[in-house]
Amino acid sequence: MSLDPEYLEYAKRGLGYDHDLFPYSVMEERKPLAWPEGKSVATWMVVSLEWFPITPESTPFKAPGHMQTAYPDYRHYTSREYGTRVGFYRLLDAFAKADVKVSVAANAAIAQRYPSVIRDIVDAGHEIIAHSTDMNGTIASTLPVEDERKLITESIAILSDVAGVKPRGWHSIARQQSFATMDLLKDAGIEYCCDWVNDELPYAFTNGVVNIPLNHELSDRQIINGQQQSADSYAQQMLDAHDWLSAEAKVHGGRMLPMHLTPYIIGLPYRMDAFETLLGDLKAREGTWFARGCDILDQFRSQM
């Protein structure tokens, strides 16, 4: 049987994209961005702080890092909790020692269950990004839109209550969205999201919400967990990226190095020395601007 004739029809084959979510634009051709104090590379660290219920759900999909063995999967449940109780505090100490401020993408469940963790983040001057309810709060186009709206507004309300400040940013689990997500985020008062990885600088969606690309490849999860490389190799790759971006910045204006961190991965004792050395090496490069997502957003908006 041959394919349906419609398979060779291309209704959206024309200039630009096959969707209206955001316009096409080439980064090289845009007006250059300048970071504060003449810095060249905005180095943006985002830590994911997540609570994985021991009862994983696969609707609309099972989150990466979720339970894997038959119930009750103590192995993965407690390993993820180790990240929040121990690994994350190693990271907070490392950030304090290096005097850098970061963004923390937190599940609302962290605020409900461990409010002191949220207070420690806010007291240290870090930013909270809303990151769904808990790790069963995944989004996809198969989720009814009213359920998605509730998930987004509840996550933001719970985090706002505990943090004392409303998150300006949103990060979906596994970066997965539906076609409705960007408008739902706008309705909920979110100013930026960090789900789309098609660019290396902030850009505005058609509806005005800004995407700040959080490169999924430059993450500890991808390099250490996914690709099974060492913490030293991870650090080397971040420095190689920083060097390349610094050179580009001399010609094209401000660049961004996003670093996505996972406490239960990078926060293990045998990896922390490599990470602290990396922080020191990045700090020693004079073009580095350690920034939070909200700082990058404000700079982008002030120059648009």
């Binding site: 969707h19 080439v26 969205q177 990885v197 971040m238 190095l257």
Partner: protein, 298 residues
């Protein structure tokens, strides 16, 4: 091909040992060609019953937007490094890119790159196409690339490596002279087709950046080392060989990878001058040079 038979019957067995040695133009040992995939991935493509386009329900934000990075950012990063060290591209092109992002195609054309077809979109698969449908995508490819670039495509890399039993016969019938879909040799070889004169152009899955990073999980520096080893081995072998480096800018053009990759280009370019072993070229030029040496056997 011999449809339904255990051996598809695409070529004769010709062992590496005992072949007549030859050299490339300028007495070079290894023809090096870089094949950037310039692609367009639809955000919400229709379903093919034989293969899903995306792992997740549409929009599959990460996978689709990762690939879109090519056309917004990383194409230029990759292309400028190639041009800087004297490497042209031989492009496997999703031909609908000519309509969606003509600036990318024009940039490649102005750099002197050759284009061959990689289907209409990398989200439309040939699986299940009847002959008329497959003829339509070949004719579309020829016309679209000609209209956009003035070039007549000479080669084919099936969209997302999806074929029908007729693909090679049809592209030969339309006068294309090489396929990049067969991986059985480090030298061009003749392919048996009903009509026409088709050769296989050595392409590489094994040193494709996608395989390097996502099948073998190499770090950027390990991948660069792999390419240099591949080059050194092929250049040391007695006869003319072909080294293909297939790339996707959204992979190789990431900031942590492009620096180590530039070191590979420097290494090969340093062996390309007078007395060097590298012939840095394009796929169509390799086909011409090989045909000039290997006249058609009976």
């Amino acid at each position: 091909m011999n449809e339904g038979e255990k051996d598809p019957g695409l070529y004769n067995f010709a062992p590496y040992r005992g072949r007549e040695p030859f050299s490339w133009p300028g007495d070079k040992k290894v023809a090096v060609w870089i094949s950037p995939n310039l692609e367009f991935y639809e955000i919400d493509p229709p379903a093919n019953p034989h293969r899903k386009s995306w792992a997740m329900p549409h929009p599959d934000v990460v996978r689709q937007s990762h690939r879109d990075h090519a056309n917004r950012v990383s194409h230029w990063r990759m292309a400028e490094v190639m041009s800087k060290h004297g490497f042209p591209g031989s492009v496997s092109l999703s031909v609908a890119l000519c309509q969606h992002h003509p600036n990318v195609v024009e940039d490649a054309n102005q750099r002197g790159w050759e284009f061959f077809s990689h289907g209409i979109y990398n989200t439309r698969y040939s699986y299940g196409m009847d002959e008329a449908q497959e003829r339509a995508i070949i004719e579309d490819s020829i016309k679209t690339v000609r209209d956009a670039t003035g070039q007549t495509i000479r080669g084919w890399l099936a969209p997302a490596l999806t074929h029908t039993p007729r693909t090679l016969d049809l592209i030969a019938e339309y006068g294309l002279d090489y396929t990049c879909d067969l991986y059985h040799d480090d030298q061009p070889q003749r392919v048996k087709t009903k009509t026409g004169d088709l050769i296989s152009m050595p392409y590489s899955l094994e040193v494709n950046d996608h395989y390097g990073f996502f099948v073998y999980n190499m770090s950027p520096r390990e991948y660069a080392d792999t390419l240099i080893r591949q080059y050194e081995r092929l250049a040391a072998e007695p006869s003319g060989t072909v080294m293909c480096i297939p790339l996707h800018s959204y992979l190789i053009g990431q900031p942590h990878r492009i620096g180590p990759f530039e070191d590979v280009l420097k290494h090969i370019a340093a062996d390309a001058g007078d007395g060097g072993r590298a012939w840095i070229t394009r796929s169509g030029d390799i086909a011409d040079a090989w045909r000039a040496i290997h006249t058609k056997e009976a």
